[in-house]
């Protein structure tokens, strides 16, 4: 009888209070406002660095003996003319050109000593004058020694020899005389044992007078040979 009452009691208790497992409190979720993981602080975005166009080339106008001495530099976006020696400009990869700046001769020499030493000598020009035919004037004979020296300095050299005449006599004879003068000087210079890379001779007759005259005028300055040694 006791066991029957106990079973009845458990039955009613089950009906009233329900299964025991329902009474186990569920774990409450943490409040949303409390972060589970510590927030990682994002670094503040740094300002975008300005891209600086790299220099691609430096250009410097050198000193020149001639009156004309200027360069014009053109890029896809800019253009500049430089006519003051020892002025430097820089080209950038975006095509922009820097403002011109001065460079000292010492600085130029430091930066470009290699090319300064390598640049070939400037051409040497000289005129030889003739009494008549292929007879050299005495003064011109003395210059021959200097010409050989200048050839030696430029060895292997390139020779350009141009013969001329004055306007005295007929045109054909003067043409022939001018050619003979050029060939005569060529022969003189070829025996100098200096390596000559090339010789270009020409007779130009009465054209290109050194001293402008009328026809049939004897003028010693026009009876000449012009030599250029490179």
């Amino acid at each position: 009888m006791k066991s029957f009452l106990l079973a009845l009691y458990i039955f009613f208790a089950f009906l009233i209070f329900g299964p025991i497992k329902n009474k186990i409190p569920k774990p409450t979720p943490p409040p949303l406002e409390v972060p589970l993981i510590k927030e990682i602080k994002k670094p503040k975005p740094s300002p975008i660095p300005k891209t600086i166009a790299r220099e691609k080339a430096s250009i410097i106008l050198g000193k020149n003996d001639s009156k004309k001495n200027a360069i014009i530099i053109v890029t896809k976006v800019s253009e500049i003319s430089v006519d003051v020696p020892l002025t430097m400009v820089k080209l950038k990869e975006d095509g922009k050109i820097s403002n011109p700046t001065k460079i000292s001769p010492e600085n130029l020499k430091t930066r470009f000593s290699k090319v300064m030493n390598a640049i070939p000598l400037k051409a040497y020009h000289v005129n030889l004058f003739f009494n008549q035919g292929t007879q050299l004037k005495e003064d011109s004979q003395y210059i021959m020694g200097d010409i050989i020296l200048e050839m030696k300095k430029r060895e292997p050299c390139i020779l350009e020899i141009k013969g001329y005449s004055d306007t005295f006599g007929n045109y054909e004879d003067n043409q022939r005389i001018s050619e003979n003068r050029a060939l005569y000087i060529k022969e003189l210079l070829q025996v100098s044992n200096i390596t000559i890379s090339s010789i270009n001779t020409a007779g130009l007759g009465e054209s290109s007078l050194f001293i402008s005259t009328e026809d049939e005028v004897k003028e010693e300055k026009n009876r000449r040979v012009e030599i250029t040694i490179r």
């Binding site: 430096s58 250009i59 050198g62 014009i72 990869e93 930066r111 090319v115 070939p120 292997p156 090339s198």
Partner: protein, 139 residues
């Protein structure tokens, strides 16, 4: 057929005529000519289309037919793209294209007769001349 080949060969040779002469040289300098690398020496001729390449601790000086002069320093590259100097027919063109190194250029007869026909190309720009001497350094 042989005649045609001969004429074409002569034509090509005439197109690539000597336009300059090597006057100074230190170290090792080569030219690239029609896919061949040829070492340069003093007295070697330069042709149109040649690419001149200088090595480290090297330099070269060249005189052109018109008297223009060019010097290159170490590790320089330049191509002689076009060279036409014909005073009789009044035809002139001189194009250089430098991509690397250092150079000094001084114009000869081109500077007097047709300065506007000279173009010295460098990265990002072109240098035009008006009878002149200048220096270039490419980074």
């Amino acid at each position: 057929m042989i005649k045609i080949i001969l004429i074409l060969t002569l034509f090509v040779i005439s197109l690539s005529a000597n336009i300059g002469l090597v006057k100074t040289l230190t170290g090792t300098v080569n030219i690239k000519r029609i896919d061949k690398i040829i070492p340069l020496n003093i007295g070697t001729s330069i042709n149109e289309g040649d690419i001149i390449l200088t090595e480290n601790n090297s330099s070269i000086g060249i005189v052109f037919v018109d008297g223009s002069r060019l010097a290159l320093g170490s590790k320089s590259h330049i191509r002689i793209e076009k060279y036409l100097f014909n005073p009789k027919e009044d035809k002139y063109k001189f194009d250089l294209n430098m991509t690397k190194g250092t150079a000094q250029f001084e114009s000869g007869e081109f500077g007097k007769k047709a300065p506007e026909s000279v173009e010295f190309k460098v990265p990002e720009g072109i240098i035009g001349i008006r009878g002149t001497k200048f220096y270039v350094e490419i980074k």
